[in-house]
């Protein structure tokens, strides 16, 4: 009997990332899927979330009754604060990033390559015309201890986003250690993709067919908990 295929929703991708965050880490969450992660962690994980706008120690997304428009995450979504939270200005916010305070930054991306490079700020390969949306990704990728990527495994037309080489201009030439997609959890280690977890009903061969570079299969390959 085969299990029905079950792709991860944005929320399940966030929850899968949340489970892998280690106790006591200082974590930056980028715009998009990553900002959902703070709503899926457990208090025992004792995590500190930081945001580009200088908020240190925020919790989950605020509901209507808790909402304060002056307390927002990197995606300008209202969040609540943990007791002990603090707020610094933008230059100090990136000072702590460049100082290497973050154990991990979780970012969205268009492409990731086996060397740990990734692309998330420009969707064109035309000559550079100063147009793009970098935000803080280049600062974060330069100095966070790890870069984790949350993205769909393929483009809308089915082309792979995990590649031998990025085709789009990179955000950083290295740094990605983990990619969580709608069908897989892939570690990026020593220039290789290692398949660690698969979505329900997706075989390693099926995931390989959706991937633009060789996938090593982890000896501990397991199904993503959903």
């Amino acid at each position: 009997m085969t299990t029905a295929q079950h792709r991860l929703t944005r929320e399940l991708i966030a929850a899968t990332i949340a489970r892998r965050l280690e106790r006591g880490w200082i974590v930056n969450l980028g715009v998009g899927m990553p900002t959902l992660v703070s709503s899926y962690v457990h208090p025992e994980q004792d995590l500190t979330f930081t945001s580009e706008n200088g908020v240190i120690g925020y919790a989950g997304l605020a509901d209507e009754s808790e909402m304060d428009q002056d307390i927002v995450n990197a995606g300008v979504q209202p969040v609540t604060l943990h007791p002990g939270a603090s707020i610094v200005h933008h230059a100090d916010s990136f000072a702590l990033v460049r100082r290497g305070m973050n154990d991990v930054t979780v970012l969205g991306a268009y492409e990731v390559a086996i060397d740990g490079s990734f692309a998330n700020w420009r969707t064109s390969t035309e000559p550079f015309d100063q147009l793009g949306g970098i935000g803080g990704a280049m600062d974060l990728a330069a100095r966070c201890k790890q870069v984790w990527i949350a993205m769909d495994h393929t483009t809308r037309d089915g082309s792979p986003r995990l590649l031998e080489h990025c085709t789009l201009p990179v955000t950083a030439p290295r740094g990605v250690t983990l990619v969580v997609t709608d069908v897989a959890v892939v570690a990026v280690r020593d220039g290789r993709f290692v398949l660690e977890e698969h979505a329900p009903g997706f075989s390693a061969a099926e995931i390989q067919a959706m991937t633009g570079a060789p996938l090593e299969i982890s000896r501990d390959l397991r199904e993503i908990q959903i």
Partner: protein, 250 residues
């Protein structure tokens, strides 16, 4: 002590701003000086070079103006920002259209580098080295240097003609306090320009009422202060100044 001028209206605060200035515009969601921007829009200044996180338009609901409206009106010469195009390529953008048409110049800067360039400008430091953007298109053509085995790129400071600042509280000495994450670029930009004009949410209090060790921006940087009127634009778009107590921290 040196006192800033307390202006009666937003239009008075921006009346003499000339064309062709460089203008710092803070804000990351909250903290955007919409009242001063709207007054400057009505005043007519053009040929602006703007420094900001993004180049978004204002919500179309209440008549306020954001940088997007200045760009659209052809009053901006150059934008320096961490977002010069929408993150979703499917979304259209006037900035993208105008840069491609050659009617607007853009300079894309990593967000931390942007904040640090203005901080350096306000700190009397002409340039600095950062690891951000090394190995990317943005570092091409810039001076690189190795320190302790790691490669860095040199970035130049920005010191502007004007900064528009959005504060929560101010005293008559010009000392400023920002509220929560509306702080963002505000204290940095308040130190990075020759002329600093501040819009304030809460009623301006006599000097001495803000404890000296709780001041975020010292008054010596501030040239003009102006109270946001009750019918002005507040950060939430719904909170009148008198009731804008922080609550998210409780």
């Amino acid at each position: 002590m040196r006192q800033p001028i307390v202006c009666a209206t937003m239009s008075e605060a921006v009346a003499d701003i000339p064309d062709e200035i460089t203008l710092l515009v803070p804000g990351f969601g909250p903290g955007l000086p919409f009242n001063l921007l709207t007054a400057l829009y009505d005043q007519g200044a053009s040929g602006l070079t703007t420094v900001s996180n993004g180049v978004g338009g204002a919500p179309a609901t209440d008549g306020r103006k954001g940088l997007g409206e200045f760009v659209e009106a052809g009053r901006v010469k150059k934008v320096i920002a961490a977002f010069t195009a929408p993150t979703h390529p499917s979304r259209g953008s006037i900035v993208v259209d105008m840069v491609r048409a050659g009617t607007l110049e853009a300079e894309l800067v990593p967000q931390g580098t942007l904040a640090e360039r203005v901080r350096a400008g306000g700190a009397g430091i002409p340039a600095f080295y950062t690891p951000a953007s090394v190995g990317t298109l943005l570092a091409e053509g810039k001076e690189h240097r190795e320190f302790d085995g790691e490669t860095y790129v040199m970035e130049r400071a920005i010191f502007a003609d004007y900064a528009f600042i959005r504060a929560w509280r101010a005293d008559t000495a010009g000392n400023l306090v920002y509220r929560m994450a509306a702080r963002n670029f505000n204290p940095v930009f308040a130190m990075g320009a020759r002329h600093v004009i501040v819009e304030v949410e809460q009623p301006i209090v006599p000097s001495g009422e803000i404890p000296p060790d709780q001041v975020h921006t010292p008054g010596i940087y501030v040239e003009r202060l102006v109270q946001i009127p009750p019918d002005g634009y507040f950060s939430s778009g719904r909170m009148p100044a008198a009731t804008a107590e922080p609550r998210g921290s409780r």
